[in-house]
Each structure stands twice: as C-alpha cells, then as structure tokens.
C-alpha cells in the first residue's frame, strides 16, 4: 500500500520524516474524504470534482497510485452523472484511507 521506495527517493532513509509525512497525508486525505462525502450527499458536482481532483493529485504525488486511480474513476462517474457508482467509489476511497491509517499507525509504532 505504501510505496516506501518512492518516498525514499525524496526523503532519503529518514524513517521519522517519512512517518511524519505519512501521518500528514492520512490527516489531509481524511479531511478530503469528509468533503467528498458531504459533496456527494448534497450532489454538489463542482465541489465533488474539485475535492476528488485534489485528492487524486495528492495521492499520485505521494505514491498512492491505487487511490489516485479510484479518484479518477469517481471523476469519470461524475461525468456520467452515475450517483450509485460515485457513492461506491467514495466508499472505496474511505476504506482505502482507513486501511492506510492502520498501516501508518503500525509503522509508527514499529519505529518508536
């Protein structure tokens, strides 16, 4: 799930710095998920597109290719106005972030 080799090309071997970054990414992604959920409930297409695009960019830059792909998939479903599929994508994004949060927590414990 975590592309450690990619993060090492930027942070070097500093595991503490990598963990700090991963925690920050999880927090930032959780905020995005909240916004995405709210925008989905309100069917606010503009806000939903903006938040998905932002999370996609953030995930892609941070090495979370699968998450970026799901965001892209949701963006495609917005174009089709398929709210059932959009809701499914949002759930997938939420679950991904939850799994990531657990993995990051385990990594942080292992390093402390």
């Amino acid at each position: 799930m975590i592309n450690l080799n990619y993060l090492k090309t930027i942070f070097g071997d500093d595991q503490k710095e990598i963990n700090e970054f991963l925690n920050l990414f999880v927090n930032s992604a959780q905020k995005s998920v909240q916004e995405i959920e709210q925008a989905t409930q309100n069917k606010n297409v503009r806000l939903l597109k903006f938040q998905l695009h932002k999370l996609k960019g953030s995930a892609g830059n941070s090495g979370f290719v699968k998450l970026a792909d799901v965001c892209q998939q949701a963006e495609d479903h917005i174009e089709q106005q398929d709210w059932t599929l959009i809701a499914r994508d949002c759930l997938e994004i939420k679950n991904y972030i939850l799994r990531l949060e657990n993995e990051v927590a385990k990594k942080s414990i292992a390093c402390s």
Partner: protein
C-alpha cells in the same frame, strides 16, 4: 536522490499549491537541490509574495487552487509584473488542449503530476539559466541607458561650444 554539486543552486523557488502533502514533497526535493523554498497555499498569496522586493524568480504552480487558480495567476503575472518569474505549471490536467491553455496563459513549462523529480530539477535549472540571462540583459540595458544619457549631455555641450565659436 543523488545531487551533482554543479547542479546546486541558491535561487529562490516559490511553490504555490493548496495541497499540503504535495507542498512537503516538493519542498523536500527542491531544497535538497540547494534552492531556497517559499510556499503559498493559494494564488492570491503567491501573487502577494511575487510583488515583494527580492521576490522569487522561479515559480512552481498548481493549476487548481482556491481563491486564484494557477491559470489566472499566470495571466495576472504576464499582464501586470515587469520582472516576471519563470513559471513551471504542475497539474494532473493532461491532454493537448490543457497544455495549450496553460502555455497560452503564460507558463514557460508544463509538467504532468505525479511529479517526475528529475525532470522538475532540469526544468528549474533551465529556468534559472533563462532568468540569469534576462537579468544580464536588463543590467546591460541600464548601463546602455546611462551611456546614452552621457552621450546626449556631451552632444549638447559640444553644440553649445560650437555655437559659442560662431
């Protein structure tokens, strides 16, 4: 990320991106290349920073940002700033129409996210080189203006002397 010492710079780079993780990744990479990094979380903040004395001459900007997006920021820079930074656009909006849109707005370079850091480094070095040449041209122009004023004064003096001899 190994760095050739010849590729280390001391130029300032302004990163304008509303996404904090992306800013951290860019800041970490760019400062390792020796650049001084300044950050803005939206276009208006970047615009304010670009108007300060000794403003950064290199700008790495995201397209989609709140308040003032990257495209509008580029257009404002090209229309209103005399000393313009070298602009590198970073976005996930790929495809020729988007690339053209970005370049037409005034971007010098257009890189697709996720960022290829080696490519970004090379683009920054190219931007730095262009900015340096531009600064040399400006400085030489100023010197020429001083010389021209001096020549004009001498011409007037010569005219007065010749007039006096008549």
């Amino acid at each position: 990320m190994t760095i050739d010492s010849a590729l280390i710079s001391s130029e300032k780079v302004l990163i304008a991106d509303d996404d904090e993780p992306t800013r951290i990744l860019l800041r970490t990479a760019i400062s390792k290349w020796g650049y001084q990094v300044i950050e803005a979380t939206h276009g208006e903040q970047a615009w304010d920073l670009l108007q300060q004395p000794d403003a950064p001459k290199l700008l790495v900007v995201d397209w989609l940002m709140p308040q003032l997006d990257g495209l509008a920021l580029c257009e404002r820079i090209r229309n209103q700033l005399v000393l313009q930074p070298y602009i590198i656009f970073l976005t996930r909006l790929s495809g020729t129409p988007n690339i053209l849109k970005g370049l037409e707005a005034g971007a010098d370079e257009f890189l697709i996210k996720p960022v290829n850091y080696s490519e970004l480094h090379i683009r920054l070095l190219a931007g730095e080189r262009i900015v340096k040449y531009r600064d040399i041209v400006i400085s030489k122009n100023q010197e020429l203006q001083v010389c021209l004023t001096y020549i004009n004064t001498l011409e007037q003096l010569l005219y007065l002397i010749l007039e006096g001899k008549k």
